[in-house]
């Protein structure tokens, strides 16, 4: 994962994240409903200094409808709703401060399910259309942010602004295969860009491994 925050003087922090996600999915040949929440984070580094990122995503909700029911390959379309908190701390570059990128987004989801031999190839694209976003103030108090949990929660939800996809872009591309009835593996590319002040960019390449507690049928993740 790469993070480029306007507060970080043009430097890019790079490092791995580990994210754990739990959820449930209801699907049939015509519809897919998916809810999940996830927690994760990891260390990032630049200039031999460390930063840390925590990702809390309480809501990832999507509903998609098969718009090609007669076709062997299925195309699902539908809305998605996201609630994402990405909190960063850079002890040496910004002592005493938290940075964050919060978004509440309504997104469009496009999912293609293509039978390939005995497996299904899933190609999914999700992009935020309209969002409420929160970032720290550009001219922020140069002194410490409070470390109280209540203050942190208030801060990461402060100064929420409405943003179209021109101002805030959150796009996920996922390409994956089912590995039997209970497992799924995908490569995911995610790009987040907040072009307003202060700017924020995040790029991640991820491997996503899903384990289904029930047989999934291999139609979709």
């Amino acid at each position: 994962m790469e993070l480029k925050d306007q507060f970080n003087h043009g430097f890019v922090f790079r490092g791995p994240d580990l994210v754990i996600q739990f959820g449930f999915e209801r699907q049939n040949i015509n519809r897919i409903f998916d809810y999940s929440f996830s927690l994760g984070g990891g260390g990032k580094t630049t200039l031999d200094s460390w930063g840390f990122r925590w990702a809390i995503n309480p809501i990832n909700l999507s509903y998609a409808v098969n718009v090609t029911p007669a076709s062997k390959a299925a195309l699902f379309l539908g809305p998605a709703l996201y609630m994402n908190y990405s909190i960063q701390n850079y002890p040496e570059m910004h002592t005493g401060h938290l940075n964050w990128m919060t978004n509440y987004s309504l997104a469009l989801q496009i999912l293609g399910v293509i039978p390939v031999k005995k497996k299904n190839l899933n190609i999914q694209l999700t992009t935020a259309l309209i969002s409420l976003v929160s970032r720290p103030e550009t001219n922020r108090d140069p002194y410490f942010f409070s470390t109280k949990a209540a203050d942190i929660i208030r801060n990461i939800n402060s100064n929420l602004k409405l943003a179209s996809s021109a101002d805030f872009l959150r796009t996920n591309l996922s390409i994956g295969f089912n590995l039997g009835a209970k497992r799924f593996l995908a490569y995911e590319l995610q790009y987040i860009s907040h072009s307003g002040q202060p700017q924020f960019h995040q790029l991640s390449h991820a491997l996503r491994y899903v384990f289904y507690f029930r047989d999934h049928g291999g139609q979709a993740k």
């Binding site: 200094s49 040496e92 570059m93 490569y187 590319l189 790029l203 390449h205």
Partner: protein, 365 residues
């Protein structure tokens, strides 16, 4: 799957965020006249080798190890001869936290408070000015203002942890918080730099003059030297002495020139010259040393002022890399502000800035 693997690799390596250059490329250090009272000049007119100075500024702008630096100004003979803003031209007039450079400003104010009789002597115990000492902190009764000025109060204020508490405004009574910290040494014995000492000085001045120190400072000093584009924080109604001033490089240079001119400003003696001499004389002979590629030398401490013997300089220093260095023998003042939230290895260090000053000093005939 086999056919998709190369495509996945392509995606993996194709996506990368590009870093920006931390510093703007060097174009010119020609100062601009912004009608703030500073006379602008050229290096040649003030007997500074312009070619060498140009090379210094080019090197600074190109040095990735100086990415924190936001401004670099050179004054000679009371005139601004070089000025560069390495990240944002607005830094010329935007207020910037100078952190512990506030301590050096405070020390100048002590001299004025003495001269005006608000403080009788720096040998006075702080109990004469802080009633909290008489009411529950009697262990601090032996601390004098001189002990505070030389960072030898003996109060075990941890510059990292206790400063964090104050920065988060956790104690409701900042003064009481500092006075409640135990003594670790007898007053006057051990040098331990900390912002708690400075705040006790500021509070003593405030109680002595009968108004917030920042207001009184404006009356007796700032308004007299044209120091107007600033802000000074208060913590529970006390002007904070350890940090708190935000200002511009050109404004801070006024205080530096006042000190370089032994307390005189435009022909008027605003601060007793004898106090200035005491303030910049080494009272702590061994306050540290530098043995770096950028600079090698020793560090001494006066009354809240840092002294660098090898450069024959004394200077103001603030967290993150805020500096105003005075080389009186060459009538030279060099001011530099840096990103102020940095810490530890990412901070622009004193040796880095003194290395730049050393090169400028050599260029000044």
């Amino acid at each position: 799957m086999k056919r998709l693997f190369p495509l996945m690799c392509l995606f993996f390596f194709a996506g990368c965020l590009l870093e920006d250059k931390a510093l703007l490329p060097f174009e010119s250090f020609q100062p601009t006249d912004i009608n703030d009272g500073w006379e602008v000049s050229t290096p040649g007119s003030e007997n500074i080798d312009e070619t060498t100075l140009t090379q210094i500024f080019e090197d600074v702008h190109a040095d990735e190890d100086l990415w924190q630096l936001r401004s670099l100004l050179v004054f000679r003979n009371g005139k601004l001869v070089a000025e560069s803003y390495l990240k944002d031209a607005e830094d010329q007039t935007s207020q910037h936290a100078i952190w512990s450079c506030t301590k050096q400003v405070l020390a100048v104010l002590v001299g004025i408070a003495l001269e005006q009789g608000h403080i009788k002597s720096i040998g006075d115990p702080i109990s004469d000015y802080l009633e909290e000492v008489q009411n529950g902190n009697e262990d601090k009764a032996g601390i004098t203002l001189e002990n505070l000025l030389t960072m030898r109060s003996g109060i075990n204020f941890n510059e990292t942890d206790d400063s964090s508490q104050l920065l988060q405004k956790k104690p409701k009574n900042t003064l009481q918080y500092i006075l409640n910290i135990p003594l670790i040494n007898e007053p006057g014995e051990v040098f331990q730099y900390n912002s708690g000492n400075s705040h006790l000085i500021a509070a003593s001045i405030q109680n002595a003059v009968g108004k917030p120190t920042d207001e009184w400072a404006d009356d007796v000093l700032f308004s007299q030297i044209g120091f107007s584009n600033y802000n000074w924080l208060r913590y529970d109604n006390y002007t904070f002495g350890g940090w708190g001033i935000s200002t511009t490089p050109r404004e801070l240079a006024r205080v530096a020139h006042l000190v370089m001119n032994r307390g005189a400003w435009n022909g008027t003696q605003l601060v007793d010259s004898l106090w200035i001499d005491q303030m910049i004389s080494p009272h702590i002979l061994d306050a540290g040393s530098f043995e770096e590629d950028t600079f090698t030398g020793s560090l001494q401490f006066g009354y809240h002022w840092w002294i660098q013997p090898e450069l024959e300089a004394y200077f103001m220093s603030g967290s993150g890399g805020q500096y105003a260095v005075i080389v009186p023998a060459k009538s030279l003042v060099v001011v530099g502000f840096s990103e102020h939230d940095t810490d530890d290895d990412l901070e622009l260090s004193s040796d880095q800035f003194l290395g730049i000053v050393g090169r400028i000093e050599d260029a000044a005939g």
